[in-house]
């Protein structure tokens, strides 16, 4: 059992959990994730390690309750416990020196982006952070990101906070301006957003790293369920990634595979809702 020490609501459906997992905390590097199971009988789901305190033996997870399993995880109050936390998994982010880097986050992707941006800043890069969401309440971690970002740009689809539109607009401006042009771009968010970012940076020849979110089971390279197509080749996101060169990823295959269980999950939620109502 892995005790939950803190469970704080950051935005609608977005929770910050501090979990006791000393071995994971000691081994973890930026870009890595854990596989979590709330209780016996439940799904194994991947969650990025947002932060770690090796001395206290804790890790921080940012969890967006999008469906059943994430809903179950955030529903556990502080003092409760997660049945299983395994990791750290995945290849740590390659933290290079690019001068200026643009860190682009969308929705809960912003949480996955956070440890990455922090590590890039700590390594001496000048970090410009661009985060977007549907509406103001969905913009998360802005204060935390502002601490080490040289500039923080916010976009919302409905214009309720920051600029109206998608994050790709301010990114395009950055790329077009020789004085602000980033040496590398890190993008984490919904697949269409990462695809759009890669389309922007490709003609400009800017190195672009994306963090992929396929469905995972074991997270150790055993099931092959997390396969993604990179440069025409099958890669396992859990052991070869989850970060890849955005210019080589086949985003269409990824979004298609992500839809595999969509109807089933919806039916599952309806059934559960029905049960609760009954």
């Amino acid at each position: 059992m892995f005790e939950i020490l803190e469970n704080e609501i950051l935005a609608p459906q977005l929770h910050r959990l501090v979990v006791r997992a000393p071995r994971v905390a000691a081994a973890r590097q930026a870009g890595q994730f854990v596989i979590v199971r709330a209780a016996a009988g439940e799904e194994r789901i991947p969650l990025t390690i947002g932060d770690a305190d090796p001395v206290a033996g804790t890790i921080t997870l940012f969890v967006q309750a999008v469906g059943y399993s994430t809903g179950r995880i955030v529903a556990i109050p502080a003092g409760g416990a997660l049945r299983d936390v395994a990791g750290p998994l995945g290849v740590p982010t390659h933290i290079g020196q690019w001068g200026r880097v643009a860190c682009v986050g969308g929705g809960v992707g912003t949480a996955v982006l956070y440890p990455l941006a922090k590590a890039l800043a700590a390594a001496g890069n000048e970090v410009v952070t661009l985060i977007g969401g549907r509406a103001a309440p969905y913009i998360i971690l802005r204060d935390e990101l502002a601490v080490f970002s040289q500039e923080l740009v916010i976009t919302t689809e409905d214009g309720s906070l920051g600029r109206q539109g998608f994050v790709t607009a301010p990114l395009a401006e950055m790329i077009a301006d020789p004085a602000r042009r980033p040496g590398a771009v890190f993008a984490v968010g919904p697949v269409p957003m990462m695809k759009a970012v890669a389309a922007l940076t490709r003609p400009a020849g800017i190195e672009t790293v994306v963090s992929l979110n396929p469905v995972m089971i074991d997270g150790t390279g055993m099931c092959g369920g997390c396969r993604v197509v990179v440069d025409g080749e099958a890669k396992f996101a859990c052991v070869d990634g989850p970060e890849f060169d955005g210019h080589r990823v086949d985003f269409d295959t990824l979004s298609d595979r992500l839809a595999t269980y969509r109807e089933m999950e919806a039916a599952h939620r309806c059934r559960l809702a029905g049960k609760e109502a009954a």
Binding site: R23, E42, R44, L89, T220, G224, V239, A259
Partner: protein
């Protein structure tokens, strides 16, 4: 006991048939197909053994179970005696009695098989092991080991790791097993379905080890959570038995369509996570109406029979050679046929087609014929020019095999590997690193439960020697 039988009387006894669950009932769930022997049946079958001097069956067994001796004790209705003999040589007899390919191991060598039918050694092993589990017969502990009390780490909780842990604990060592998944058993739990090997059997065998003092820590991925270096620093010896769980790809077009699974993913969803068979389980699975499973081994049989139980109207094995070359156990092939599985032999997959929305809709196949034998000694399948056909299917499962998973070895670059990525070790399991031993599928590539256990047993003996030496 009645008076001993004459050899003639012994020879006249026909081989026992084990009761099986009715094929119609099998589709209703995951209940075990083989129902086990009744005591009278087991005693009678044990009397078929003529206790020959040459004991060829023992040579046929990778862990050299004292087969005539345990059968002899059983024939005399001495069940505790039979159990003690069996357990001395085999740490997981209830598992082996269910999943070992006896027909090509011990039973293949049985003298009675020359003219008639071999003694049903596997059934008897299962009978005695189940009796021991039910009656709480404990494994013997060897308190005489000179090196007792040292700390040993075991990586992987499959049959190789479990066996080594049991042997070492019995010699008085402090053993800790580190397992990447959230549960024990390795392939026994996530791969082999309950209709062949009930989880209660694994649980009972694991509890036995825990009673001996073995500690099991799940959710620890060696190479990630802890490194091999850390284990070497904290323990007096390490046994690596992390299996060969990296699925091979078909490398045909359409492999990423929705509804295409690797056998590992399919079986893990169902067996480890309860998808499709436990209403409380929340892991989803795509239930196909027409399911094609590619491959001819035990894994393929497990997938196709699982698909049938989950509700597939048509469940098919697609295999590029003929039935005679299929590596699956004969019993699994027989059971699959009884359950209505279709066998499409001399058929190779060429491409997977979709329905316009990214879901699997068809499998394009190539007819094959058998050519000259290849390096494996089996006839090489050759494509029949121009002979293609399309099968309508909505789930395709790839069960063509696995390779060594590089997760641990990639983080231990000093560990010697073969060119296929398997760990190099000597007969005793010793690797090029002092105090580090390895065995099971990570050394052999995908093999069998009993070979993995044999490795665990030999390595445990070598580790005990190593710990005893100054």
């Amino acid at each position: 006991m009645t008076a001993p039988l004459s050899v003639k009387e012994q020879l006249a006894i026909p081989r026992v048939k084990m009761a099986e669950l009715d094929p119609e009932l099998r589709r209703a769930g995951f209940a075990e197909v083989n129902r086990g022997l009744r005591l009278e049946e087991a005693l009678r079958e044990a009397q078929r053994c003529i206790q020959c001097k040459s004991r060829p069956c023992v040579q046929g067994c990778p862990v050299e179970v004292a087969i005539p001796e345990f059968i002899g004790a059983l024939a005399e209705n001495d069940l505790p005696g039979a159990a003690a003999i069996l357990r001395r040589d085999n740490a997981l007899p209830a598992v082996c009695g269910r999943v070992c390919p006896q027909e090509s191991q011990c039973e293949a060598q049985c003298v009675r098989g020359i003219k008639g039918e071999a003694v049903a050694i596997g059934y008897l092993e299962r009978f005695v092991a189940d009796w021991a589990l039910e009656h709480g017969e404990r494994s013997p502990v060897d308190a005489n080991s000179s090196s007792a009390g040292r700390a040993v780490a075991v990586v992987g909780c499959g049959p190789a790791g479990l066996t080594a842990a049991g042997e070492l604990a019995r010699k008085g060592h402090q053993v800790t097993i580190f397992e990447a998944l959230h549960d024990t058993g390795g392939v026994l739990r996530y791969g082999i379905p309950e209709f062949r090997l009930p989880k209660t059997i694994i649980d009972a065998e694991v509890a036995e080890l825990q009673a001996l003092g073995v500690r099991i820590e799940c959710n620890v991925i060696v190479g990630k959570t802890l490194t091999l270096e850390q284990l070497r620093a904290e323990y007096d010896a390490v046994f690596v038995a992390n299996g060969a769980g990296l699925p091979m790809m078909l490398d045909i077009p359409g492999e990423n369509f929705k509804g295409v699974y690797s056998a590992n993913e399919y079986l893990t969803r169902v067996n480890l996570m309860g998808a499709g068979r436990d209403s409380a389980a929340t892991t989803p699975i795509v239930i196909g109406r027409h399911v094609a499973v590619i491959g001819g081994g035990n894994t393929a049989m497990d997938c196709v029979r699982t698909a049938r139980r989950l509700g597939a109207e048509r469940a098919m094995i697609i295999y590029r050679r003929s039935e005679a070359e299929m590596p699956a156990r004969l019993e699994e092939i027989k059971h699959a046929k009884e359950e209505g599985v279709e066998f499409l032999m001399l058929t190779a997959p060429l491409a997977i087609g979709e329905d316009g929305k990214g879901w699997v809709a068809s499998l394009r196949c190539q007819r094959m014929e058998l050519g000259a034998p290849d390096a494996s000694g089996r006839c090489r399948p050759v494509a029949v020019a121009g002979a293609f056909f399309d099968l309508p299917v909505d789930v395709v499962i790839n069960a063509i095999g696995t390779r060594a998973n590089p997760l641990l070895t990639a983080s231990a670059p000093e560990l010697g590997l073969t060119r296929w990525g398997n760990i190099l070790s000597d007969e005793q399991g010793a690797t090029n690193l002092t105090g580090v031993y390895a065995g099971g599928d990570i050394v052999r590539g995908g093999a069998t439960v009993i070979l993995a256990m044999g490795d665990g047993k030999r390595a445990a003996a070598a580790i005990d020697d190593y710990l005893a030496s100054p």
